[in-house]
Structures are given as C-alpha cells and as structure tokens.
C-alpha cells in the first residue's frame, strides 16, 4: 500500500473511532438534550464511517455502489452541518432575547446572499476534472462549504459585533466546524478542477488531509465536551453595584418613551 494511502486509511479509522468516542461521551454527559443536532451529526458521522469502511473493503461491493453511498453520505453530512451551524447560532442567541428576531433575520439574509454567491461562482467556474461526475460532486461540495464557512464567519463576526459571550461547548463546536469547513473547502475546490478518473497522488493526499481534519475536529470537540463550562468572570470591584441599576433604569426609561 502506498504511504499516502496508508496515512489516509489510518486517519479514516482513527476519525471514525474518535467520532464514535465523541458520540459516546456526548451521550453520557447528556449533550443530546442540549445539542440534539450536533449529537445526531456525530452519530451519523460514526455510522456512515463504519458503513463506508465496510463497503470499501467488502469484495461484494462494486466501485459504483461505493461511489453512490459516498455521494449520498456527503449530501446528508452537508445538510447536517448546516443544521449544526443553525443550532450554534440559536444557542448563542438564547441568552440574548433582544437579538432573537434581528439575528435570525440576518442569518437568513446571509444564507440567501451566500447561496446567490455560489450560484454565480458555479456559473463562472464549472467543474473541470477528467471524471465529470465526481468533479461535479466536488464542485457541489465546494459550494456547500463556501456557504458553511460563510455562515460560520457570520456567526463569529455577529457575536463579535454585539460582544456576545460564548459558552465553552458551543464555542468548541463552532471552532471545530470552522476548521473542518475551511480545509474541506480547499480540498474540494482542488478536486472539482483536477479530479482524475483513476485515483492518483492528489486524490490520496486530499483524502488524507480530509480525514486528518476529521480527526482534529473530533479531538477539538472531545476536549470542549470534556471540559467544564468556563466560570464567568465577576465584575471588577471598582464598578459600584448601583451603577448597573442606574444605567439600566435610564435605558428602560428611554426605551419605553
């Protein structure tokens, strides 16, 4: 087996195993109640990993059958990732009711804008690989990743603008997904343009990078799920307590005028 292929397969096994562990830890700690979509996503990644590994090695499964399964799982994963981003955003807004309406509106607006952008991009940059089917699949994956990364960037910029505070777990999920999205965007963009009919060094390298990213993400998520929630910092003693009340009283007075 070629070195890159060996790395890719090792990382593939490791990624599936780590996602399985992640799902187990998440469920043990009751995260399915707090982050149902994320736990569903990690469960799905584990299951699809097991299925795809089996199909890859089973002699009874043809290359076409494997390709169909692979494309189907890619589509499901993409949808699940969007749902996770939305879950992250909802969690972020949960603590700020004043932002709920406008935040959701902006999120939708950004989604529509990003969809528009990828449609334009697809029009001006059609897939160009030697394998038209897979090149198209990777072009679609690129489009999906652009929207995903764009939405995550929006979430971070939005929370930065309003100085929203992140809970450790939500932050970890967002960070992991952001890393995954950007790396996956690079590899899918390359493969959409260079996808060969027969796997070569480039395909093996990008597969290895993708699996490596899955491993890194699973580790990030594990660390954040296992970590205890960051204790909030108490206000500085120099700030008199009554000041907050007074400021707020004034704010209320004007808001209701």
């Amino acid at each position: 087996m070629h070195f890159l292929e060996l790395v890719w397969h090792t990382l593939w096994f490791l990624a599936v195993g780590l996602h399985g562990l992640l799902t187990f830890v998440a469920m043990r700690r009751g995260f399915q109640r707090l982050f149902p979509v994320f736990v569903c996503y990690t469960t799905w990644i584990t299951l699809e990993g097991i299925i795809l590994i089996y199909m890859y090695y089973a002699p009874s499964v043809s290359g076409n059958e494997y390709a169909v399964a692979s494309i189907t799982t890619l589509a499901i994963c993409a949808a699940a990732r969007f749902a996770v981003v939305y879950e992250i955003f909802k969690h972020l807004l949960d603590r700020y009711p004043a932002l709920s309406g406008s935040g959701t509106f902006l999120f939708r607006l950004v989604t529509v804008a990003l969809l528009g952008a990828v449609i334009v991009l697809a029009k001006f940059s059609p897939p160009a690989g030697s394998d038209p089917l897979m090149a198209t699949v990777f072009a679609l994956q690129t489009a999906v990743n652009i929207v995903l990364v764009g939405l995550l960037l929006f979430v971070f910029v939005f929370s930065g603008f309003f100085r929203l505070s992140w809970r450790s777990h939500v932050f970890g999920i967002a960070l992991g997904l952001g890393i995954f999205g950007t790396v996956s965007l690079s590899t899918s963009a390359i493969r959409a343009q260079l996808q060969p009919i027969v796997p070569n060094q480039m395909t093996k390298l990008t597969e290895a990078i993708n699996q490596g990213t899955y491993v890194v993400c699973a580790l990030i998520w594990l660390v954040y799920l296992l970590a205890t929630e960051r204790p909030p910092q108490s206000p500085k003693p120099r700030l008199p307590k009554h000041d907050l009340g007074a400021w707020n009283q004034e704010l209320q007075r004007f808001l209701h005028r």
């Binding site: 929370s159 007074a246 707020n248 704010l251």
Partner: protein, 173 residues
C-alpha cells in the same frame, strides 16, 4: 484551476481569521478595568440638534443650495460620529454587564441582565441608523435625516444617546 487556487488561498485566510476571531471572543467577557474611563462623552443636545428637522429646514431656507448641502453633509458626518460613539459605549457597557450577569447577588445579576438586553438594542439601533445617515448624506436635500430619521427613529436615537447620560462627562466625543 485559477478558481481552485483562489479558493484555497481564501479558505486559508478565512481559517486564520476564524481562529483569530475565536481566540479574541473566547477571551471575553472580561469587565473593563474602569468603564467610566473608557466611555466616551456624548453631547445629547448637540446630537439632537444635528438630526433636528426644524434645524435642517431653517438651514435650508437660510443658505444657498450648495452651501446647505455642504453643511448638511458635515452635520450628518458629525451625527454618524455620535452614533458610532454611542455604539462603542453600548459595547463597553455590554462587557461590563456581561461580566456582572453572573454575580452572586441577585439584584446585580438582574440589573446586568436588563442592561445586556438594552445595550444590545442600542447597538442594533446604531447599526441600523448609520447606513441611513449615509444615505441621507448622499441626498441631503431630500429631507431624509430630518423627517425619516428624526421622526421615525427619534426614539431610537434617544436610546442610543442614553448611554452617554449616566457616565462621567469626560473623554472625547
């Protein structure tokens, strides 16, 4: 292939940006050392004057068209600065309130909770108002800042101005 290279470079930039944004945001909330020192003074009356429809109308009748447009643009520029200042004050108060939100004393936590809510609203209003002021700058004779902004958003501007009310009158506007 060019598009692939562009996307690879872009995604690398976005990755760095995401990590930087994440690192910066995860460090907060940290209450500023002395919020009063950092809050910028906002002259409420001056701001009211800048977006006062009557004032704009008066200037329009007294000044030649070109002169009026020039002055009105300057006034709106100043109004934008005021709104920015108020937005920054709201952001600062948000930090203070966010940190105080977890106070062991219920009264402080409750006050902070309300302050977070209101400061966010003020920041949101500031976000909405600035583009409108810029539009008004482009069309100074169309009465946008006076009628639409002042009438429709008078309440909003009051909320924004408010942040400067209860803080020491020092610093720079």
């Amino acid at each position: 292939m060019n598009i692939a290279i562009t996307l690879v470079v872009l995604s690398a930039i976005v990755l760095i940006l995401l990590i930087r944004l994440a690192a910066r945001q995860y460090g907060s909330p940290k209450a500023p050392d002395d919020p009063a020192e950092q809050i910028r003074f906002v002259d409420i009356e001056a701001f009211r004057n800048l977006i006062d429809p009557a004032e704009a109308k008066y200037l329009r009748t007294q000044l030649p068209g070109q002169e009026f447009r020039k002055i009105q643009r300057k006034r709106l520029h100043a109004a934008v600065e005021y709104v920015r200042c108020v937005g920054q004050n709201a952001a600062l108060l948000l930090k203070v309130a966010e940190a105080a939100r977890h106070s062991s004393e219920p009264a402080t936590a409750q006050a902070a909770e309300k302050l977070v809510d209101n400061a966010i609203r003020v920041r949101l209003y500031a976000l909405e108002l600035i583009p409108r002021l810029y539009v008004a700058m482009l069309l100074p004779t169309h009465g946008l800042p006076t009628t639409r902004v002042a009438d429709g958003y008078e309440q909003m501007t009051r909320q924004i101005i408010l942040l400067g009310v209860k803080v020491p009158l020092r610093g720079n506007a």
